[in-house]
Every structure is written in C-alpha cells, then in structure tokens.
Amino acid sequence: MSAWRFAVSVMPRPGILDPQGRAVESALPQLDAASVHGVRVGRRIELTVEAGSEGEARAVVERLATDLLANPLVEDWQVALL
C-alpha cells in the first residue's frame, strides 16, 4: 500500500449562473482591472488515498468526485495528482 495525494477541482458547468464569480467580477473596476472578465469561482479539495496503485487510488477519488464532491448536474470536476 502506498499513499497518493490528489487535488479535485470543482467548477460550475459552462452556462450555469455563477453568482460568486459575478460578485468577484463586480469588484474588479475598483482594482483598475476592468479589462478582466469571465471570472468563475469553484472549489478545490485535496485528499490522500491509500491504495495498491495510482490507478486504484484515482478510481476512488473519481467515485467520490461524482458522488459527493461535485454535483454532476451543475458542476464539472478534474482530478490532479499532487
């Protein structure tokens, strides 16, 4: 058994209203950054999995991403090995 640490990034799916992103974007003119747009806010979850192989560990993370960490109806997710 070894341990692998992953980061799961969860983002609102394209086309889904993202009020948090909109709120952040509304502050940008005050920062002389009015040229910045397309702000989207998601979340990042880091976790460690003990498993026999990286593939096995990744499969566990992908199951958790689908069942708990993201809501596939409104969010996309990506897994990255740290």
Binding site: I16, L17, P19, Q20, R22, A23, R43, L68, L69, N71, L73, V74
Partner: protein, 227 residues
C-alpha cells in the same frame, strides 16, 4: 398517524415542523439523522436549516446521513416525504427529486413573505389547497435558485411535476420558470423552498402553510400508507 421530523446537525426548523404537524392532528416525533430508523413514522419531513453547515453544497453531506437509507426505502414503498427548504435541497442531492438548488441569482440571502401558487391540488401534499389559490409563506435561504436543464424542465412540466411556482414578483432567488417546489413522478415525494411550518398560525402572519400540513396528515390517515 405519525409524522417523523428528521434532525440533522444544523437543522433549525425541526421544532416548527413538529409543532405544525401536531397542529394538523398528527402524532409527531423528532428523528436523529444518525439513527437509521423511522420509528414507525407514516410520513417524513426533512426540515429547514443548514444541515452539516451547508458545507460543500447544501444537502450534499446530509444525503449520506444513516437515516437517509430509511427515508429512501420509505419513499420506494410509496411513503410520503416532504422536504422544506434545506430538506428540499437534501432531496435533490439524494436524487429523490429532480434538479438542483443553486446560490440565489440576487447574490443575497433572501427572506420574507412570498406568494406561491399550487400548480396541482390533486396530490397528498396539496389536497386541501383551493384550486387557483395563492399561499402566503415565508422564504429564508441563500441557495434556492431552482435549476434543471431546459429540455428536462420541459419534460418535468409536461409530467405535472412542478408543484409550486412563485407568483409574480415573488421569485426572488432566480429560479428557472419560477419553480418553488416539485413533486416526484410517483407523487409521494415533494420539496419546496418556502416554509409552510412558519405559516402555521395566524399569529405568525399567515396560516396558509397549514393547508399543506393538513393535506399531508389527512392523506396518510385516509390512505394509511404505512412506513
């Protein structure tokens, strides 16, 4: 006739729901989320609040509470389940109702009285609501913006699963097509963002919520759907 009101860590409308169920003539008991047993409840209410602090997404963690297995089995047997506000969010996360409740489009926590139209009065949750009647109930939520992809929303409407809609100017969270509450295809699981249990007595500003509570209690008493 017994109503079970589930208490998650962070529920805060559980006692109001208990009170309203008793006012409607039911025996009612609080059920702890960690106990996978409905204790003989004939109908289950998932109350409002902030289960598990609403961390990750509203309802996402509550969905995996041990009692949810029993709630799922109860629903599969045709038993009645009503989710109010946070309870509605739990039911969508659990896949017992379609859709998702997103952060309010207004960027604000929305609270206050709203007018809600019952689209159907032939369900166990709305049998007492006069046809075309407007229900005045409070809302209090940060994540109540109902979402379902357009084509699925079309299908939902054509199957008559939109149970409640916000009346004109009452849609303060940006819900698609003014959806305030939905019902399962089988008609025994329903959820809504407004709070019927907070509109249970005139003293509170409205007792319209009792139309829903009485519908629920009397439907079970009449049909005797057992847990």
């Amino acid at each position: 006739m017994k109503v079970g009101v589930v208490v998650f860590p962070g529920s805060n409308c559980d006692r109001d729901a208990l009170h309203a169920a008793r006012l409607a003539g039911a025996e009612a008991e609080l059920l702890w989320h960690d106990d996978p047993d409905l204790r003989g409840a004939d109908a289950v209410i998932l109350p409002g609040g902030f289960a598990h602090g609403d961390y990750l997404r509203s309802g996402a963690i509550a969905r995996f509470s041990p009692i949810m297995g029993a709630v799922r089995e109860h629903a599969a047997r045709g038993g009645l389940v009503l989710g109010i506000c946070n309870g509605f969010q739990v039911l969508t996360e659990a896949g017992l109702l379609p859709g998702a409740l997103l952060r309010n489009a207004s960027l604000r926590f929305e609270h206050g009285w709203v007018d809600v139209l019952a689209e159907r009065t032939d369900t166990p949750f709305t049998a007492h609501v006069p046809a075309g009647g407007v229900l005045r109930m409070p809302i209090a939520h940060g994540e109540g913006c109902y979402f379902l992809p357009d084509d699925e929303l079309d299908a939902l409407e054509s199957r008559g699963q939109v149970l409640f809609r916000y009346a004109a100017s009452s849609n303060r969270n940006g819900s698609l097509r003014d959806v305030a509450g939905v019902i399962s295809e089988r008609g025994n699981v329903a959820g809504l963002m407004p709070h019927p249990e907070r509109a249970a007595e005139r003293l509170l500003g409205s007792d319209d919520g009792m139309l829903l509570m009485r519908s629920l209690v009397e439907s079970v008493a009449r049909t005797g759907v057992a847990a």
